[in-house]
Amino acid sequence: MKTLSECKIDHKVKVLKLNASKELKQRLISFGIMRGTTAEILKYAPGRSTMEIKVGKMKIALRTQEANLIEVETI
């Protein structure tokens, strides 16, 4: 089982499952992060506490803490 927070820069992944609470899940979905969508890891902020990903055409920043709740597979 791999989570988004374990991915390396420039990797492309497919979202398998959102292990978040219902509320956070809705938040992620509203940003387009949902099952079946592909995401690209763009950057890590200093200290790797925050990461930037690209979903569709949108760039999204999220904390690795939350990225840890997103199950993915590399494609």
Binding site: K25, I29, T50
Partner: protein, 701 residues
């Protein structure tokens, strides 16, 4: 004249406010980071016999009610107090934007889609068949550009046409099992002849996806008990099909596949020449793990340097103008009391405040640029790790930086933080970010004690140390008063955009006018009050006593000295002197004399008043020649260095102005929070002021 009331909805960063600006030429604040339009703003204009009211609602990604903005928008849309919806979209990101549209389509209101940023889409090689899209969705879609003003007329025509149309048949298509369940509920509603404004199909969709507002509507209906079991069964069926236990997730997936289908049919993408977009290239530098933060710090430093150096040029002109005005108006007024009121009270007080307009304009331009280019979100990204350590949130950065401009918008922008505890914590810290109104006080004190070449650095140091103090305070508060779980950090990084001049101008102009208006009304009134308190009661015996002394004085110097002595004796027995004397012992450990004590207290009304108070209190008892008549000269002569340092520290930390305090209380949600804020800031200010005074004493002796 017919009325059309329109709700303007869209995801964040699609240029909604800018669009209203283009339609109506209004004075709205538009920015390029999530959460500029916090409250709904109304814009009114007339067009072809129609009276338009456009309600600009806060940007929202979807109706998850996650943030206050989303709640405001959702509530307004369900209230139904409008005729139709304009759904503004970013043409360069259709799939994402359609997510909100699909939710709007089941609200039972007519929608017009504005495909905004079509000029940008063209540049990226995107071509949208708007006509085909209109047919597919059953909603008129109009290509527009808020920047080039393309399509504005068509948009207005479409609005009028849609208003005249009774009902719109939007064509949202779901997967087979979902359609089946929708039909089930629809049939049930039809069988029981359910009366409603919204169509049965829309009600069915809303019920299946667990829409709270629709639940509430039907809850008291007798059919509810039976209906409920149908809904539960239906939802379960849909969940099963999507292999999830969350029906909203299932619907999100339904929407996505429908939207992808639509986009597939209407959008053709020519491989664009500008590969690897500019945004990515800029991001490689600006949010680079190594140079990102240094660049940010450098930009902030540069901003403060500019504020000081360029700002000082027009300041000389303004200073000169008010000096001239006082000299010209003074002799025209015969009555002594009246002349003193106008020249020493109003002109001196308002002049002292208007003097700082150039600084404030530059600072506001800087902040407006940060906002409108999209850099603000990058900074939040860079700093979240850091802020998180202090118990704050990367997005706290936005209210905190706004706090450097003015605390009032800063308090309001703290609404982007959803978690109440995080928001309260940020609200308590905002005051540590020195607002624009404190700038005059700093400029004055720095000017009085430091050489000009040091001024920019000193100012930067003050702002930074305020921010550092704020972070420490945040950590302490987080560990004590605000313990608890944290808010997740998920944020869009919008595209970089060249700031539109018009947009920056609007922002800076409105904010500056707010400051100037304050100078003209509130501060003028405060100046008059302070002038009155410092001139009355007038003791005639002092006049008589000194008159004879001055007449008998030998040299001109002696005469001047005696005149000064007379003035300060007048001041000391005035109302203001009494207040200052009364509170002097309390402030004595900080090294304040009674004049400084008074200035500090008048500063509770507005920070700008600190300067005008000092102006009235010190300029009065001074020589008349040009050189020493300036306030800066008077202060460096009358205030010891150590006292100035502790005064500065207290100004940095203590309670924000009256207006900001009111906003704080409103945003925090109760008077008790204001009491906390008062106790918190006052004790910190007093304690640190005391320490700073004693350290400075040691250095200066």
């Amino acid at each position: 004249m017919k009325d059309i009331k329109i709700a303007l909805v869209g995801q964040p960063n699609v240029g909604k406010s800018m669009l209203v600006n283009s339609i109506a030429n209004s004075h709205l604040h538009v920015g390029n980071f999530s959460g500029v339009t916090v409250d709904k703003t109304e814009v009114l204009f007339d067009h072809e016999g129609y009276h338009f009211t456009v309600v600009d609602l806060p940007g929202t990604y979807a109706f998850t009610d996650y943030t206050i903005e989303e709640r405001v928008t959702h509530q307004y849309l369900t209230s139904g107090e409008y005729d139709l919806i304009i759904n503004v979209m970013d043409s360069t990101n259709l799939v994402k934007n359609l997510q909100l549209t699909s939710e709007l389509m089941s609200m039972g209101k007519n929608v017009v889609i504005a495909l905004n940023m079509s000029d940008e889409a063209k540049k990226e090689g995107i071509d949208i068949d708007a006509l085909r899209m209109s047919k597919l969705l059953g909603i008129p879609c109009i290509k527009v550009s808020a920047i080039t003003k393309e399509g504005m007329g068509e948009l207005l025509d479409a609005l009028i046409a849609t208003k005249e149309l009774s009902t719109q048949n939007s064509k949202l298509v779901f997967s087979e099992p979902t359609e089946e369940e929708i039909l089930n509920i629809e049939k049930y509603l039809a069988k029981h002849k359910h009366q409603s404004i919204n169509s049965h199909r829309n009600i069915a969709i809303n019920l299946l996806k667990n829409d709270k507002a629709t639940y509430k509507l039907l809850h008291s209906d007798p059919i509810w008990t039976e209906l409920q079991s149908i809904i539960v069964k239906g939802s379960k069926h849909i969940e099963l099909h999507h292999n999830t236990d969350d029906v909203r997730e299932a619907f999100a997936e339904e929407y996505l596949s429908f939207n992808k289908g639509v986009v597939e049919e209407v959008l053709t993408q020519v491989p664009s020449r500008k590969e690897s977009s500019i945004t990515t290239k800029i991001d490689n530098i600006l949010i680079n793990p190594i140079v990102g933060i240094p660049i940010f710090l450098f930009l902030m430093w540069g901003l403060f340097q500019l504020t000081f150096t360029i700002g000082s040029i027009p300041m000389d002109w303004i200073d000169g103008f008010f000096g001239w005005l006082g000299d010209t108006v003074g002799p025209l007024i015969k009555n002594d009391d009246l002349r003193s009121l106008v020249v020493d009270g109003i002109i001196a007080g308002v002049g002292a405040v208007l003097l700082f307009v150039p600084n404030i304009v530059i600072l506001f331009i800087g902040i407006a640029l940060l906002e409108s280019t999209g850099y603000m979100s990058r900074v939040a990204f860079l700093l979240d790790g850091f802020f998180h350590k202090f118990g704050l949130h990367g997005q706290s950065f936005i209210p905190l930086v706004s706090g450097f401009g003015c605390s009032i918008p800063a308090y309001m922008s703290a609404r982007i933080l959803k978690n109440d505890r995080d928001r309260l914590l940020t609200l308590f810290i905002i005051g540590f970010m020195s607002c624009g109104a404190k700038l005059p006080v700093y400029v004055l004190l720095i000017g009085a004690f430091l050489p000009p070449e040091m001024a920019g650095n000193a100012l930067f140091a003050i702002y930074i140390s305020g921010a550092v103090l704020g972070l420490i305070a945040a950590k302490i508060l987080k560990l004590t008063a605000f313990k608890g779980p944290e808010e997740p950090f998920v944020m869009e990084m919008p595209k970089y955009r060249l700031p539109s001049l018009k947009l920056v101008w609007h922002t800076v102009f409105t904010k500056t006018m707010m400051y100037v208006k304050k100078a003209g009304t509130f501060i003028a009134a405060a100046s008059i009050l302070i002038w009155f308190l410092s001139n009355y009661p007038h003791n005639a015996t002092i006049d008589k006593e000194y008159e004879s002394k001055i007449e008998n004085a030998q040299s001109a110097d002696m005469k001047k000295e005696l005149a000064n002595e007379m003035q300060s004796e007048h001041l000391e027995q005035s109302y203001l002197g009494t207040i200052g004397k009364f509170s002097e012992p309390f402030f004595a450990p900080l090294g304040f004399d009674w004049k400084m004590s008074v200035a500090l207290q008048t500063g509770l009304a507005a920070k700008e008043v600190v300067v005008s108070t000092l102006g009235v209190l010190y300029a009065v008892g001074d020589d008349v020649d040009e050189q020493s008549n300036s306030l800066i000269g008077a202060i460096s002569k009358n205030i010891p260095f150590a006292s100035a340092v502790s005064f500065l520290v207290v100004i940095m930390i203590y309670l924000p102005c009256l207006a900001a305090s009111i906003v704080f209380t409103r945003e925090a949600g109760g008077v008790k929070y204001f009491v906390y804020l008062f106790v918190f800031t006052s004790s910190v200010a007093y304690g640190l002021g005391f320490i700073a005074y004693h350290i400075a004493l040691r250095f200066s002796s």
